[in-house]
Amino acid sequence: MNAFFASVEQRANPALRGKAMAVIGSEHRGVVLSPSYEARAFGVKTGMTYGEAMRACPGLRLVSADPAKYSYTCEELIGIWRDFSPLVELFSIDEAFLDVTGCERLLGDPLQIAIRIKERVWNEKKLTCSIGIAPNKLLAKLGSDMQKPDGLVLITPDDIDGVLENLPVRELCGIGPSLERSLAIIGIRTCGELGRTPLEKLTARFGVIGERLRDMGRGIDDDPVAALETEYEEPAKSIGHSMTLTEDCADIALIERHILQLAEKVGRRLRRGSYHGRTVSLTLRYADFQTFSRQRKLFHAVNHGLDIYEAAREILREDRLAQPVRLVGVSVSSLERDVSQMPLFDDERRRMFVTGAMDEINDRYGDFTVTWGSLAERYCHGRVISPAWRPGGDRQY
């Protein structure tokens, strides 16, 4: 999708249509998440601070991000895409891969299918998208990035060598600035050069990903389109939540309250997925973006918010804070599934029943309807898209 968040906000507010505007993280802090194409014409880019964006475009209109709008619109788009193929892989909230192999007799060739998708997205949602058609995901993604907005690029097997020969390696999905610099050190700047580099040279420098890099340079990608449903079949390795605070915070009591809130959310997701975990991790990011994580191994696997909170709090108290904190994260790993047993002792049994009753109430009336008194004034964190978000509702664990 093109400038997805900004385009949705322009749909939601007719006064913003055709205007230079940008969606930002929040009114208190954050950066430009999605500038409209009208704003991009003034040089406004994703990742700019407010100040930079306003200097580039003094009349810029700003809208705080409203993730509920974007996630619901994404769900509706998935509904459209699924009318063209059952194999839809969501790459991000505004990008998806469709495998239309075998759909030709029913829906026409891939070019016709792409045109019909673009028509439906426009007619039903008044949004534009750029589509890349290619033999694999790597090239399809490349094609979709080559023409924006409202683009349509077809890369046939015969085109691959010509397209890649002089293309800078950074244009390939998966090669970021750091990898680009590492490749440049050994004299590789274009995909053509990457594809011709001897495998031994790449594996000597990059290890196991050397072969993958050479394949990328040749436009080879065997990764299949994984339908959304298959994701739910894979067991989770860890479950966590984090929050960027409205203001940098050095108040330990307040940070502990945030940790309790996060631990409760993590506990709820663990219980929903019938998981217990033995390792609790605490992540803190200081005001200067220096980030560190510490973890604690527990004797018993846990899935109760209070147990997770106590372990995370102990980690917090091990050291003094070097600076005010801007982000707090709590996660649980070393997961085991379906291993719970009925507690032997009355106290534990009562806690299990109370927790079950609280979960039922919160499932019905919303998270934190019944919670700890200290979370009555919890941090409202509605302006982000949770990593647990999935079409049709949050991931069940």
Partner: protein, 82 residues
């Protein structure tokens, strides 16, 4: 900085059409004034627990309003205006 809307949370009376499984606000009262919905610019859904909430971004040709319908309590609220 120019922010486009102000958050609000006011219970409002709404005249709406319920037809074919869809809800369409026609007008609503705000401080004794009747605001006629000229365009429903965007509709989206969220949940509060198990209760679906319908959100509407609507205009009367001059102002922009976000109103929400709680399908559990059958109540309408004005949540933002610009």
């Amino acid at each position: 900085m120019i922010f486009m809307s102000v958050e609000r949370n006011e219970l409002i009376s709404v005249c709406a059409e319920f037809s074919g499984g869809a809800v369409k606000p026609v007008w609503f009262s705000l401080k004794g004034r009747r605001i006629r919905v000229e365009e429903i610019a965007l509709i989206w859904k969220t949940r509060e627990g198990s209760t679906p909430i319908l959100h509407f971004s609507v205009t009367d040709g001059q102002g922009l309003y976000e109103i929400r319908y709680n399908t559990g309590t059958f109540s309408w609220r004005l949540t933002a205006s610009a």
